[in-house]
Amino acid sequence: MTCLHLLLTLVFAVSLGTPVEIQRPRGVPLTKKQFYEESKPFTCLDGSRTIPFDRVNDDYCDCKDGSDEPGTAACPNGSFHCTNAGYRPMFIPSSRINDGICDCCDTTDEYNSGAKCENTCKELGRKEREVLQKMAEITKEGFLLKQQLIEEAKKGREEKQGKVTDMQENKKQLEEKVEALRTVKEAAEQPEKEAKERHLKAWEEQKAAIRLEKDKAKMAEAFLELDDNSDGFVSVSELQSHAELDPDADGTLTETEVQGLMGGAAQVDTSTFESVWTNIKDKYHSESQPEEPAPVETPPDEVKEPAVDNDSEPYPEDDISEEDDEDEDDEDDYHEDDDKAPPTVKTPEKSHEDEEAMPPYDPDTQALIEAAQKARDDFEDSEKALRVMDDQIRNIEKELSFDFGPDAEFTYMYSQCYELSTSEYIYRLCPFNRVSQKPKYGGSETNLGIWGSWSGPENNKYLVMKYEHGTGCWQGPNRSTTVKLTCGKETVVTSTSEPSRCEYLMEFTTPAVCQEPANTEPSPHGHEEL
């Protein structure tokens, strides 16, 4: 009966748009009206004591639970109920009654403070209904989108799983192929190797013969040169004129030293000169030719600080200085190493002897080489294909391993990035990957965290994403970002902030978190009373 009455009152009130005061002490919600009966003493709602009813709302706190003063600020722990007809009823701490600040939209909290409050409930109610309606629409549409996303994700997942299975099958074949080609390659390389060795050996022999010839000619020439008096013998004194032969390099070539070079003989003829030649040929300067200039050390122009180019963009000064000293040292060392080991540069002074180039391979050998090269190429190609396939499989498997939500509804964000531009920065959220910040007007990007985990509340962890271990802060932690997800039709980063230093907060809307709308059309304001 009471219920019916209430309901009727409600309907009546709403249709008229004017509140109907139902007699009860100020600040008491209808649900508790029955405890406040004017004709009876009042028992504190905690049962702690009973007081005459005229002590209810007499601006003095008698009940420990504050229940005797629902409409005054007398009790420290009391609460005041405002009906807020046209909007939502609410409880406020009784300390806000008559404090000069309008809290209830129906102005009932400021009945004795002189504060000029206006009844804003209708306006608020209208706005709230609009918002709720909009929210409901968004939720509805969002939820539909979410179903699509789930569907797509499901399909995508199946596709990918199928692909992986296929690829794994292909991979097996590819592996077999690689093995087969390896065998082919090895089989082709054996004869190639033998033929090359043969060729090389023949050429080495040929070279040795030529070298011997040359040496002999040189010796003969030297003999003639040394034999100043052309008597067919080279004597100690004749040899002594070649100061460069000084074995101890003290600047003088003594007789004893020369005798040493000549094996104790006073003079040698062409045949015995051979043993002397062996002793002196390394140092001997021909008299006819001008002294061979020392090989000019070619300045390695092309080597000039190759590292500079690699590192032309040094770290922004500030960032670098934020690092610890140790780190800086490490980096310096690293750069030095770089300088010490320039990219492979062939030194031109490879050999003094201007030897003739090796003669080309004979056609047979050449054929063998070409065959082997082809086998090698084939093998490498197949091996590369295998690696690529491995990578692909790994990537897909990685993707499949992510927790994209209970229905994989977050799958679509993977490998996407969403940006928000503020007055100073462009923020970039790449879900399941990283968050970053880049100054709008130049400057390098700062990593605000890499994907960590879902970290929403226990009942729905998929409402918050956590990105961690971003760029370190000076004297502080590594940057991290919390991404709060709310239901929206579009996938957008709506705001960013840095509530604590280096701890960022991002608001992100997505259909993926839209909940199924309630079955019934949500009533714009579910008042159970007025």
Partner: protein
Amino acid sequence: MAVISIERMGLLSVFFVCLFFSSAFAVDRGNFKTCDQSAFCKRQRAFKPGQSPYRALLETLELSDSRLTLQLINDNNKVHLLLELYRLQGNMTRVKINELKPLKPRFEVPDVLIAEPPTEPLSVLSKDDNGVVLSLGAESQRLIVSARPFRLDIMEGPEVLLSLNSRGLLAFEHLRLRKDTQAQPEGAEVKESVDGDQQQDEGKKDEDEESNKEEDGLWEETFKSHTDTKPNGPTSISLDFSLPGVEHVYGIPEHADDLKLKTTDGGDPYRLYNLDVFQYELYNPMALYGSIPVMLAHNTQRTMGIFWLNAAETWVDISSNTAGKTVFGKMLDFVQGSSEKPQTDVRWISESGIIDVFIMLGPKPSDVFSQYASLTGTQSFPPLASLGYHQCRWNYNDQEDVKSVDQGFDQHDIPYDFIWLDIEHADGKRYFTWDPHKFSQPKEMLQGLMDKKRKMVAIVDPHIKVDSGYKIHNEITSKDFYVKNKDGGNYEGWCWPGNSGYPDFTNPEMRAWWASMFAYDQYEGSMENLFTWNDMNEPSVFNGPEVTMHKDALHGKWEHRDIHNMYGLYVQMATAEGQIQRSGGAERPFVLTRAFFAGSQRFGAVWTGDNAAEWDHLKISIPMCLSLGLVGVSFCGADVGGFFKNPSTELLVRWYQTGAYQPFFRAHAHLDTTRREPWLFGPENTALIREAVRQRYALLPYWYQLFFQAYRTGMPVMRPLWVDYPKDTATFTIDDEFLIGSDLLVHPVTEEGSRGVTAYLPGAGEVWYDVHTFQKHNGAQNLYIPVTLSSIPVFQRGGSIIPRKDRVRRSSACMENDPYTLYVALSPKKFAEGKLYIDDGHSFNYDTKKEFIHRSLTFANNALTSSNLCPDCNFLTSSWIEKVLILGASKPSKVVLKMNGKETPVDFEFDSSMSVLTLRKPGMNAGDDWTLLLQ
């Protein structure tokens, strides 16, 4: 958003790391001078006690009605000094010593004394070749001037209260010409070196040394690559004081040390030199942000004070003849009829200026407070709201952040009055401006706060960014208001905005201009609920010697050396003046300062600077604020939670509980710390913090009344126990508990994981009531109190009446019209008294129009009476008395309210277990005369 600022910080930080600050958490002592590294201190300290070279030339004595002058001569160098003695009203003696004929004037501190102190007649009682005896008025007090060597003794009856130069440490470095540039040596100078050469007695520092070799640091001194050119050469001064019968001395803040000053033998003296000390360490005599050269000496018979009015770098040595003695040793002395009377000797050393000392002779602690107040003024009477809770952080990021923090307080039902903005709020640290992105609509933000009856503080530091696009800089430049470097150009130093100029606040025209910048049409975006915080006003100069200004910088004709310690005072003075002027003189200002000097109490609040989230820093907040309270500065607080580092939840809760019972109650945190608004640590801890803040708000009427009293009389608000129990020696070293006024005793829990504290309850024959349980405890005992995380041990003195407003609302302004509850705590003789003060809470009308209510509340002979202490005052309040609790009462048969000749019965309840009588809703207006009779 913050990368820009982070990068800025990065730059600065690197700068810090490179130049002065070690990365470990501790002060880098190497950045700050020891006495040995400060040439004048080293020079003066090398002087050992002995025969003084100074002699009084009695024939030069001249006595006018209130002023005695006498020449002194240094027999070593024949330099004449002029001694001036004054008997000041209120039992004080002033001793001034200057050169008789200085080469040029020496600096005398202006603007600290509120007026030329009124004098009383001095009379010569007797005079002979050895000296003069002067009468110091009625109380058989005499001042004895001894001629050879010169010394002063102040006697009362047969007792020597205090002696000057009794250890012969008077040293006055006279101005002189530099030898190598001396074109025509003056006669005196020649004499000096000749005489000096002849006399070398007792290893005393003789000025002749400089003729043998140019002593280091006389004309130039270098510290860590900073060279101090000293165009005036050596100018330091020193004087010793002996305090017979004194074992306890206090004061000379600011030091992060115990309340009772320690002897400095074998260590450095206490240093007074306003410095921005990064990550300061505790329990040492190093200088900090502020300096108040006032020392109190106390024993069971008497309290005295020494006020050394000098604004230059100052060092204070303390020694004691009982210092090394064990308790047993002291007892042995006592039993054996002690050979030696305990005595404390103090020596003051300053780098420049003159000797100008005020000896405050007490004899009671309250006398010393009023004596000092009569010289430098009392604590400014703050707006009521500033006694509420302040929420600060470096930095609230933007307007949105401010709004959400403000809402957080409402959501969690925690009251607060002020939210603060640190340096990031300004546009590129250009004070008086707002960051165009983060705080683009400051008035909108301020209006939002005003709608909730709340207020804001924005920082305005004295370093001004050198930037030709900045109005403030351009005006200062065009008016030539900047401090000058030694070569006459504008002094520039590095601070938050980068290269900065420092306005010369010693210049009254500059201060007037600065004040005018706070006008609403000058300070864009400001409103009447915006107040100011002056930080970095030591002044802090990141690349200066000891992180401050070069001593040879120039303020008009004076060197920075002369005025250093009062720069910060002037900054706060000019800022407070600006806030007063913007309202046409109607509204009270609120300005917080980090640097301070004697007299700073007249301009607002101070805090203990950049402390850390450590238990020891929580503990030290008590002696640091107690020391300040003893020398006039009542409005003191420490950053709740600790500025550097992140506090544990327990530490944060304990700090709120402690801070709620300290005068200035502000939470603050460094930029690099994680957020710590009160509701971020789980519901239990939110509740604990809420409760602590609510206790503060309930007691605001008491705090306000105490500040009114401090403003009127100079009595400190937060006090050591000995101030109210001066004869109880057990109280003399206590600094882990304290009194608020006379009636509340607080022993905060400052130990991690504490399960109990032992509080000393003073007063033989007195009783104390636990304010939470109303349990009664006897005085003169150490009481063990078991504690939980929710405990804040607080006791109300039996014999007191404390008015509270138990209806705590979201800000103090919201509580304006709320009723009072009177907590009447009866003494064993069933007596109690207290006061109630009410005004509008924010204007000067209490002063200009006597618009306030001041009432005396007395409980005697079973009657509680409210009587008017200011019959010619007029102020109407709508507050009334909703409840009276009488602790320690017995059950009456009935209770009657007598008012306007009528008697009405009053309902009551009696709790026999705790003997608490509760009078229900007597209902009289708080401004009325009434009596409640218990029958």
